[in-house]
């Protein structure tokens, strides 16, 4: 993620028609946007579609961006909305089916598959959380946004974000603790 000053400069260049500047913005925020979209949607292909929609929607709306504010939260709000819209439209294609063994525990994993299995379990646990809760946790813990920024992105009061982060973390930390016990 670039500095805010750099972001503003790139936004200004993009508004002036500089295609490469927009490309640099996409490079800076691609990983973050894909993670946030995946937190909302679960399925990685759907998430990439939503992240792409978000970037192109941001490009079209770029003149509405208030350069006095940080660019990241503004962009992530658009990406999260694009993911939510896609989730609502999605009817046939579903997220990866949940394996109860992944969420509730299972046999002790081989050393080689430890990290992969933790990822599976975390994704399954995330999928069980309500959409707003898992989005709030990812934006807070993974992407490092503040409660106030997340509140602005999700369009909810800051207290609601605090509550969502707390409850989401409680579930995920319990899973993480169980997993650590198993691999000891």
């Amino acid at each position: 993620m670039g500095s805010e000053g750099d972001d503003r400069g790139l936004v200004a260049k993009t508004l002036a028609g500089d295609r490469a500047a927009f490309g640099e913005l996409v490079e800076r925020y691609a990983a973050q946007a894909r993670r946030v979209a995946r937190a909302v949607l679960g399925d990685p292909d759907d998430a990439d579609d939503a992240a792409q929609d978000g970037f192109l929607s941001a490009l079209v709306k770029l003149a509405q961006y208030d350069a006095r504010r940080p660019f990241g939260p503004w962009l992530m709000r658009i990406v999260a909305n694009a993911a939510t819209d896609r989730r609502r439209r999605r009817s046939v294609r579903r997220a990866e089916p949940l394996d109860p063994a992944l969420v509730g525990g299972g046999p002790r994993p081989d050393a080689a598959a430890v990290q992969s299995e933790l990822g599976d379990r975390l994704r399954a646990a995330l999928a069980e959380l309500p959409e707003r809760r898992r989005t709030a946790v990812v934006l807070f813990d993974v992407e490092g946004y503040s409660h106030a920024e997340i509140a602005g992105m999700l369009g909810v009061p800051e207290g609601t974000v605090r509550s969502e982060v707390f409850h989401g973390r409680r579930r995920l930390r319990a899973l993480l603790a169980d997993w650590k016990e198993q691999v000891k």
Partner: protein, 133 residues
């Protein structure tokens, strides 16, 4: 991980690292960036639709609405005209209306006043006024 961490609203590095690894796309970013950039021109083209296209998109519904209003006005006007011609009372002259109102009314004076072929005699007028009182 302690209980105090559970209620802590500061970022949790351990959970963050695990979640980041779980959500990280398997492929690199370059293919995704290229894919987004492939939609760059199309997105801008859609966003800057020429004015004539916008006006053209408004034209057809506008013409339809105007035609509908014209037809509705014609139908309403025709209905009002037909109702006035066929459904109401036949036209009557003022003299006939007054005369018919006066005949069988409160007194002879009024009937004589309104039906007289010549200008009214003052005595008859006075008689009518007195009868009215």
């Amino acid at each position: 991980m302690t209980d105090s961490q559970m209620f802590d609203h500061r970022p949790d590095p351990e959970l963050a690292a695990a979640l980041r690894a779980a959500l990280e796309p398997r492929d690199g970013q370059s293919a995704f960036v290229a894919r987004v950039m492939a939609g760059y021109d199309e997105a801008l083209r859609r966003a800057t639709v020429p004015t004539w296209d916008v006006l053209a998109s408004w034209f057809r519904p506008g013409v339809a609405a105007a035609a509908a209003a014209l037809i509705a006005g014609f139908l309403i006007g025709r209905t009002v005209l037909f109702a006035g011609a066929g459904g109401g009372a036949a036209p009557v002259s003022m003299d006939a209306a007054i005369a018919s109102a006066a005949v069988g009314g409160p007194g002879r004076g009024v009937a004589a006043l309104v039906t007289a072929p010549s200008p009214p005699d003052p005595s008859i007028v006075f008689t009518a006024l007195v009868e009215q009182r």
